[in-house]
């Protein structure tokens, strides 16, 4: 998984609670991404980062925020989890902007 770890790997939470997912990379790559994967959909981009404190929204960013205070860590926060955010979340990294993305092992999140 290209030197990427995600934590937790599985989480069950209740509607309305905040949740933070962590992505950690050992590759020292500048570019990091958060995706969600749902049945019937391809991977969809939530947020991305082009460097420390440089983040932007993807196509499905509502209800999510991110932070990147260190090169190696990219955090995804669900501010108030909803059942529609039940999904598998993947972090990805790339060496160059727009180039090949390498994915982490994923976090499976269930919001009850």
């Amino acid at each position: 998984d290209a030197g990427i770890t995600q934590s937790p790997r599985h989480k069950v939470t209740e509607t309305g609670t905040p949740v933070t997912l962590r992505c950690h990379q050992t590759e020292n790559h500048r570019y990091m991404y958060w995706y969600r994967q749902d049945p019937g959909h391809g991977l969809r981009l939530i947020h991305y980062s082009y460097g420390v404190k440089d983040t932007d929204k993807g196509e499905v960013s509502d209800g999510y925020s991110v932070s990147r205070s260190k090169t190696e860590d990219f955090l995804l926060t669900l501010e108030s989890a909803t059942s529609s955010q039940t999904s598998v979340y993947f972090c990805a990294i790339s060496v160059k902007k727009g180039e090949t993305q390498y994915f982490g092992p994923g976090t499976r999140l269930l919001v009850l």
Binding site: F103, G104, P105
Partner: protein
Amino acid sequence: GESVGLHLPTLSVQEGDNSIINCAYSNSASDYFIWYKQESGKGPQFIIDIRSNMDKRQGQRVTVLLNKTVKHLSLQIAATQPGDSAVYFCAERYTSGTYKYIFGTGTRLKVLA
């Protein structure tokens, strides 16, 4: 753990045969394409990529063909092995202000012993 839904198209191939997995991409302006393999419960794994100035690219046991005229991409796996069983999906990249990717939902490959 299903990675992408319960109703994916499935390709069943006998072990040792060649597999061909197809992908129709959507944007004629896409300039870079990637094939990923995703095993159950795991993250997508990069297999091979191709740029729009190429028609064919070969890797180890895999070949990607690009037909820009009909916006079609294919992945050929030679001498398919049980370890090749997974979901395979393509990704296309285009530029709209910044780089954007569209990921396909995938095809499930089942290798029969």
